[in-house]
Symmetry: C2
Subunit: 350 residues, 2 copies
């Protein structure tokens, strides 16, 4: 299923041209534009073959050719050369990152924004998850007669909070004593282990322990449900839209943030960037879009995913490089700050 050298070249040119102009590209146009040593007739013959084999299509007779999903796929797999991002681009991105504070959510949000801007498409970045979180410490702070704030610090610097209502008034001393007892009993346990723990608890303590367990389970359960979405505007600006249904479909999927629908996270290869082109995505609404996905995080530890969503007409090479780079940056940051047990990495490199 490989193409002759010349046909491959031609496909590459067609894709390049179409990605730039968003308009069907004709045989004559391409010959003139690239000063090919063939006539347009020859090119037409070649195009006919490419079309026969499904790499490109025809919107209608007498329009130029447009790459088909299969064409893009071949391009991504065999033709495209992924070149490193120019170092000034890298520099810019790094710079943008360093303006963030040190809160994890902030990083994620920021990385979505930076990614969206860099690739001029929509970007989705999920919050990273740990495989199963362990309790590092809990804290109870009274805020009212019958209410207290429960703060959990989980393994890998994740902090969770919840207001807890007690059936009867309770003072700070009692709260502190409950917290101390539970800290002693549950330190470094997972939600499941807390459930089966044999610790002797008063009723109040049991009330709190329940909440702890629930919060931790919720945090574990949540797969890729929470994510930051940025740059929808970039996609809607593309010329292929005219407030068409396609656009609304996409918005619908994106806004509901039901990302598992959008992005087949399970198919991500653990180490690299995955590209999903047009109808390769099972979700109907995504048939006109491509998705470039990469996991990020610490292997076997805390991890999330980031994705770029845009029309199939996309600068794949640049997009892939950018996703790879930003995923790398995020992984680096997570490793530096959260990979417990690992030696502290060099934190100053800019």
């Amino acid at each position: 299923m490989t193409l002759t050298e010349r046909r491959a070249q031609l496909l590459s040119l067609i894709i390049g041209e179409y990605v730039d102009t968003a308009m069907p590209v004709g045989s004559d146009a391409i010959v003139r534009r690239f000063e090919l040593p063939f006539s347009s007739a020859t090119i037409r013959n070649e195009m006919a073959r490419l079309e026969e084999e499904g790499y490109i299509t025809h919107p209608h007779t007498s329009a130029g050719r447009v790459p088909a999903d299969k064409g893009y796929r071949y391009y991504v797999e065999a033709l495209m050369q992924e070149r490193d991002l120019p170092s000034e681009v890298k520099q810019t991105i790094r710079h943008q990152f360093h303006q963030a504070g040190r809160e994890e959510d902030e990083w994620v949000h920021l990385s979505a924004a930076v990614l969206a801007r860099a690739v001029e498409n929509a970007a989705v970045v999920t919050l990273p998850r740990t495989p199963e979180s362990r309790l590092k410490r809990l804290e109870l702070v009274g805020i009212q007669d019958g209410a207290a704030l429960l703060v959990l610090v989980l393994q890998q610097a994740r902090v969770k909070q919840q207001v807890l209502i007690f059936p009867e008034p309770i003072d700070q001393d009692q709260l502190t004593s409950i917290a101390n007892h539970l800290n002693a009993a549950f330190r470094n346990l997972t939600a499941g282990e807390i459930r089966t723990s044999q610790a002797q608890l008063t009723q109040m303590e049991w009330h709190v322990a329940n909440a702890v367990r629930e919060i931790m389970s919720a945090s574990d359960r949540g797969g890729y449900d929470e994510a930051y979405l940025e740059g929808v505007r970039n996609v809607l600006q593309k010329p292929e839209f005219g407030t068409s249904d396609k656009m609304l479909n996409l918005l619908e999927v994106l806004e509901q943030r039901n990302l598992t629908k959008l992005i087949p996270f399970r198919e991500i290869s653990a180490d690299g960037v995955t590209v999903m082109i047009g109808a390769e995505n099972e979700e109907d609404a995504m048939h006109d879009y491509s998705v470039v996905i990469s996991p990020y995080g610490v292997p076997g530890g805390i991890s999330g995913a980031m994705a770029v969503v845009g029309p199939t007409r996309m600068r794949y090479s640049q997009t892939i490089s950018t996703v790879r780079f930003i995923a790398g940056l995020m992984s680096e940051m997570l490793t530096t700050y959260y990979d417990e047990g690992a030696p502290p990495a060099d934190r100053q490199k800019d």
Copy 2:
């Protein structure tokens, strides 16, 4: 500047009709639709007067009339009757709220989503802010040799976290001792008071105290900069758009989340709902949109703002009622959980 009874009625009908159909409404159409006891000619005369005075306009000769900003303004001020939301709607909304956990961010996010859905437009809800936060407790949890997680619990159940890097390795006992000392020294102080505090601190403690101060200042400073935005799709679906520039302008403003530009928060009346129609908004990109804003929170205490953004052609009455209701709900929740010193309110009412 008041209108005759009949002209006011007519304006009301025109607005009602236009809001429903999004199409210019003609004299004949309105007579037939509402079986008015006048002929279309009479209505035409009245319309001409309304137009003269700026309440309605003409897209072009021989199109029907369209309400102008001034017309909507008059409607909102004098004609519209704000009726209470139907109780089943209230019920639905309350129900949606009760599915939330007890995390503040979650509430805010949820309220934006619920609001957007209820009014079928875009909704923006800012995170609530306290006037000046006081430190209730701080906690240091080691996560690596030279790094620890600093967790602050501020007054009114706000929790802040940051990873802290120490210049040299430090163990949990040291961290705990630092935390204890700082807790004793800074309990219930504001950022400013911490700065001028005379407490004797070791170098390590000083390092932490600095971070505490910074986090607290940042939290105080942040005005309306962080907010949840939902339902952009609802606006883009409205028939008045055709991927026009208007739309992109709006997206630009909304996506950068520069909400102070979008929404003149300072002009909010402290107690009620403010409506800003079309060109009344100084921001150019907002000239075709109206904004309905309400503050929420505890008077003099923790507070934020929520807003609905949609085309000037908007169901003002329903939107205002909905915003008022949801702002009320949020205020109630904040009061219940976070208004320190107040007696615990009845939490079970559904």
